[in-house]
Symmetry: C2
Subunit: 905 residues, 2 copies
Amino acid sequence: MASKWVYLFSEVDEAEAYAGDWDGVRGLLGGKGANLADMTRLGVPVPPGFTVTTEACNAYLEAGERFPDGLWEQLQAALVAVERDTGKKFGDPDNPLLVSCRSGAKFSMPGMMDTILDIGLNDVVAEGMIRLTDNARFVWDAYRRLVQMFGSVVLDVPDEVFEAVISGRRRQTGVTSDADLEAEDWQRITHKFKEIVRTYTGEEFPQEPMEQLRMATEAVFKSWNGKRAVDYRNAANIAHDLGTAVNIVTMVFGNMGDSSATGVAMSRNASDGRNEIEGDYLVNAQGEDVVAGIRQTQPISDLATGMPEIYAEFSDIAKRLEQHYRNMQDMEFTVERGKLWILQTRNGKRTAQAEVRIAAEMVEEGLITKEEAVSRVSPGQVDFFLHPQLDPEARKGATLLATGLNVSPGAAVGAVAFDADTAERWAKEDKRKVIMVRPETKPDDVHGMLAAQGVVTSRGGRTSHAALVARQFGKPAVVGVAEIEIDLEAREMHVEGGLVIKEGEFISIDGTLGEVYQGKLPTVVPDMNDPYLTKVLAWADEIRRLGVRANADYPRDAERARAYGAQGLGLVRTEHMFFETERLPLVQQMIMARNVTERVEALDQLLPLQRSDFAGLFRAMESLPVIIRLIDPPLHEFLPSHDELVSDLADLKLRLQHADNMAALDELLEQITTKQRFLERVVALREENPMLGTRGVRLGILIPELTQMQVRAIFEAACECKKDGVDVRPEVMIPLTTHVNELRVQQSSLENVARRVMEEQGVQVEYMFGTMIEIPRAALTADEMAKVAQFFSFGTNDLTQTTLGISRDDAESGFLVQYAKRGILPDNPFATIDENGVGKLVRMAVELGRSSRANLEIGICGEHGGDPRTIDFCHRTGLDYVSCSPFRVPIARLAAAHAALKHRE
Amino acid sequence: MASKWVYLFSEVDEAEAYAGDWDGVRGLLGGKGANLADMTRLGVPVPPGFTVTTEACNAYLEAGERFPDGLWEQLQAALVAVERDTGKKFGDPDNPLLVSCRSGAKFSMPGMMDTILDIGLNDVVAEGMIRLTDNARFVWDAYRRLVQMFGSVVLDVPDEVFEAVISGRRRQTGVTSDADLEAEDWQRITHKFKEIVRTYTGEEFPQEPMEQLRMATEAVFKSWNGKRAVDYRNAANIAHDLGTAVNIVTMVFGNMGDSSATGVAMSRNASDGRNEIEGDYLVNAQGEDVVAGIRQTQPISDLATGMPEIYAEFSDIAKRLEQHYRNMQDMEFTVERGKLWILQTRNGKRTAQAEVRIAAEMVEEGLITKEEAVSRVSPGQVDFFLHPQLDPEARKGATLLATGLNVSPGAAVGAVAFDADTAERWAKEDKRKVIMVRPETKPDDVHGMLAAQGVVTSRGGRTSHAALVARQFGKPAVVGVAEIEIDLEAREMHVEGGLVIKEGEFISIDGTLGEVYQGKLPTVVPDMNDPYLTKVLAWADEIRRLGVRANADYPRDAERARAYGAQGLGLVRTEHMFFETERLPLVQQMIMARNVTERVEALDQLLPLQRSDFAGLFRAMESLPVIIRLIDPPLHEFLPSHDELVSDLADLKLRLQHADNMAALDELLEQITTKQRFLERVVALREENPMLGTRGVRLGILIPELTQMQVRAIFEAACECKKDGVDVRPEVMIPLTTHVNELRVQQSSLENVARRVMEEQGVQVEYMFGTMIEIPRAALTADEMAKVAQFFSFGTNDLTQTTLGISRDDAESGFLVQYAKRGILPDNPFATIDENGVGKLVRMAVELGRSSRANLEIGICGEHGGDPRTIDFCHRTGLDYVSCSPFRVPIARLAAAHAALKHRE
């Protein structure tokens, strides 16, 4: 028996039986086809039609672009069924059936696949239709659309050629809008279009409707492997072997007079998520006119007064579809002479804010579970809440160039690039931040949009291509900015009022408010006080197993981290405090000390400063654990650089030659002596490979007074806080251990200090000592390490450097760029954990560590701690927590919940 | 039942029954006691006596220095048995039994433990003995010896005080030698000694013989925990819980006239291993006179004429003992009035040459097996054959200061240090090479001897402390250099002829010939053509499983390696060739190339040079594998250093100001331009951590032309050799791989080159491509690596650096020194593989690699490849071969055999 390649929309049950489940039906019929079938079953008014399956597409492509056996016969039979349903006949001039042919893959790929409308029209049918409708303008407009779309999509005639004919006609007749062109204009245009087809292809435009249908179907199949489809799938991570279905649907017309209309609408607001229908429509127009954003659309709310019954029916359908799909819907509709047809529904694209609000509200409406709500929100969407916005203060004095539609929120600052290739080249090769500015965007422009910080278009609406894609990828965007005029030839744009911005000049945009500013405006990161996000993250907290801590060095960062939901500090880098202006001289004095006495003098002065640092952190993180890492970097980092000192000395010696009085001479000599001493010390501290040099615990062992001072400061601060009634939980972390003996020597010396301080203060503090695991050997011998350490924290930045033998500072601007370009490394190992290499060591260390100490606390504090894929790894590997920058904390909370849901038993 | 703490020598069977085996008897009775018992059983004339066990010593020390229950009673009973055997009586002035009390631990610790002679003498017995012997001089001499030894060893009176009395008496009586002192002198001396004891201790010298014996026994026990014993055990790796036995032996006297004598002798020559008795003796002397080297001894061969019957008996006993112990014996003997007594036998210490020759000859004599011969020779002893000797040419013009006894062969050059502490301090802290020069050495001096390159003493003989210890630790030594006089006060030494060498000045010594030279003489390494060594190594080759290859970069090194037994080259460092004078400019031209054309031009000139390098290596290693590693170091290493260029430029610019003609000006400007270009490139190539930077395969990927040239050179050379009938087996090694994709990309490009060359040449060569495993990630993902690589070679130098996070260049003169001093790292991980860390990665990689490719060839080419403990690890881990420097090849062959013997099922 031949396969079943074609399903009528009314055959949905049969398709479901075949494909097994909802996901299978989507795979078989494509999202669009499955939804049309769904709607048919739900009783939503869908124009009759049928779907050619994705399996047919794959069979066609595999067979070297040949229809598989039975397909054509099944398609013809389905067409007969549609003729029966509609009472019309394909190719019959007296009662013509016209159909559209549209692609529809499993996952929505907006604008990527091709659509042909009005199939079934030809010279004879057109004449018949004019007789039937008494509307020559409508018929010639429909016919020219068929020839134009068929010509460009099926026959590869450049669309610009057709557009040039239309604009030429507009000029000839002196009108500005297509709406003002008459029937005769469209008839002439149609003839011209057919002539163009003949010229370009050497053949006549096909007059046989079945031939049109066959060629259109094939074109949809082939477009699956077109460059822009492949690019999109690569960018969106969609598999290449899914294939596309083809939907053949009875044409309905929104351009048959004032009782006709067409539009697109979302069941909720796609920008902010409010629960109200949002969309645009046009009276007496074809659907593509709305999507293309060429004519100025009306907001959907106008339909309530313009066509109140239609609006009511549409609202009702929107609710039913939402209930059915348990998600916000994006619908296309047409009103043909007072009758509403729903042409398509799909889950609507939305901004991060809208996603979060819709998810939260749908839980409250009982539509979805908390787990589903958490699953729907992506880490990238939470990230968006932390994205920069234009600084409201700076905005005041800035030059506002223009305003447009606020279709994708957030702020972006960059150099203007007028085409996608330029945008991509500047962003990738020159590492410049770019704003792509276009009259409108097309699927060909996606790579430029991905490379840019933000997007501006002078045309298009909320549902335009630019708006949809920008929202999907979280790029701030302002569209339909009518006040700017782009001169692609001159590579500049003109703003109302005469200002000219040349390509390469900077602009700043606010996608939240729809504003475009001249120059670089400072940006700020918003407060994370969105009530819907708060809800979703609270649900995420209920779901996740992994704890989330933050890396913070100052009380203000700790407070922010806590507000963002951090359950402790996973990494306090004590040396950061050393770089503060008042402290650096003391640190340098400690390094320059000629003996222990001098060194201790300097350390004694640092002690009260560090103590107050720690006290501030303990108070900010009351009752939560605070992991303080002892000094880590090599000492030379606290001194001026070698090259700087050499150049300063040369300069001072030159000035010495021109000193004209003794006082100046003495002053210079003293400076030279000081710099000379610095230089000698810097030379002595110089290392071939400082990354593998004298730092971390090695410093603590060589200069025991230094880490002893730090531990004294920690415990004096802890005791002080505890006396004030503050619950403190310090964890002292020893960095860069390679051999358990280092840990033994350092830890026992420091625990002595801790005990001594607590005795002095008469206060007992709960504390832990532990180590960073950031050297392969430490991971390989974690069983030994865990006999001494009470906790581990993976320092995956350094662990990646040593495990891969890659110096990050040198490589990320060096050979790693080449490696990424040539795909030698699948990911940047400093962004996402290298699971096969570094991850293997982490797994070993967790297993070995727990084998020695069952209650060993294990976390990660490298930058990887805020990366969702790494967080998934940490969940699977059984870590207790991840620690990341305060700004990544909300993302980590969500990602941890995702991991828990994904790997739930 | 009380334990048995005391065994008569004749109770050897009982001791064996108790201890279970030979090793157990040695543990129980100590080496000396076990040997005395053995000899008693063999019928060798041993003075009657008994042994107090090591268990008694341990029980005594554990109980807080108290005799365990039953010990004293058993000791008294044993003494009664000895009285019965000898017919004498302890403490009986009319028929006195005198005994010695000597320590004897399981392992010989020369001079470390204490001896007391003549126990049983007191005022009354002395008078009785004078009556009996009619030899007052002998008796007073014996009595003063007892008081002196007892006083210094048991009662802690400084020995110098006693010696001062003797030398004072010599001065008073105007004699130069103790031998010239009369009976009356010794009587006075004895009285004075007893007075000294009274003064120092507040008590009389004990007159009760049993009290003497008890105190002496306790002193031996206590000396086990004395500082110098502990130091020696630490240096020689002897366990501290073995304890020492005490041997109580009937005194026999070699100083009872001209028919008496005493001596020490080896059953074979301890310097070169010849099978002939070698030793020294003195007529009418006590044994300690021989060992102390104070009197000029006679060679043992003189005994053959002086006392022919004794000599014959002794020779026979020596042979029997050798047969019994299957090893060369070191014996002490005394002739008392014509009767030979053997006082002690033990395996003799010997030089490396002697060890090897004796082992080889004993196999031929059927005394031991080949396996035993191989086991007896240590890697250190083979190493000795490769030790430097003074250059014979340079010796001709040098100033020979003096000659002495050639007791420990090899050459050493260093600064003179006149005491052990100075020697150690200079060697360890200042990293100076030191020769320790002393009048004679004592156990307290061992740490200085260990730290020194070599040892010179002005006194002492072949069996002196200095000679024994120097031989044991393989330090070149010249002893008994009577021509030099050391002035410890003035810190200088005077040489006959008036030359003065101050402390810190350099001397050179030849321990093989017994010569001392002024200044630093050049040294050469001897040819490895010792026929006995050749035999032993050939047997090692039969035993070992591991292959041994060499790291060599030039044909001359390859030839030497092959002569030393290398079975191939494990590492050819191609970049070493780049540093040669004619090539460096071409390499720099390649690096400075502004484009690919310029780069290829330079590479084209390098090609023939590299080709001839490789051809030379292939010919030298005909039919053996040659692993060629492609370029590894970062490119900046081939350019002048940054600091050098900056300083040169400053200098050139200064000269520019003073240039006085156009030609000079032009010349300078050109130089400046060139240097400036170099500097720019050096700055561009600068890396924070070059160890983790752009080198190895990363270079090959960034500059494919470079490694392609190298592979072309390899295969052109291979084809050329093959055409000449030379069997070539190149293995191309790609360094520093981190990810299998690097290997894939580089290897496939290079294999293309290889195939192309072979096609061009019309020759097919057998070859392999493989990789170095020197980055932790490569080891962790070795299963993936082995899918591409046909062989692995562990680069454990870099693998240690990355696994431990330690930059060798910085650390070995930095914190690792502290770490070694404080015992934080048990070994230098760059000398012996860190088995817990790096070793774990190696084991994983071997297992993973073989899981992907069963016949994967695996070796090691880091410096660890020549280290015996690492070789043992490599054997256990299943590597195919080790590769090391040519000079380590013989050591590796032996160490590999040792590993095979040790881990034999």
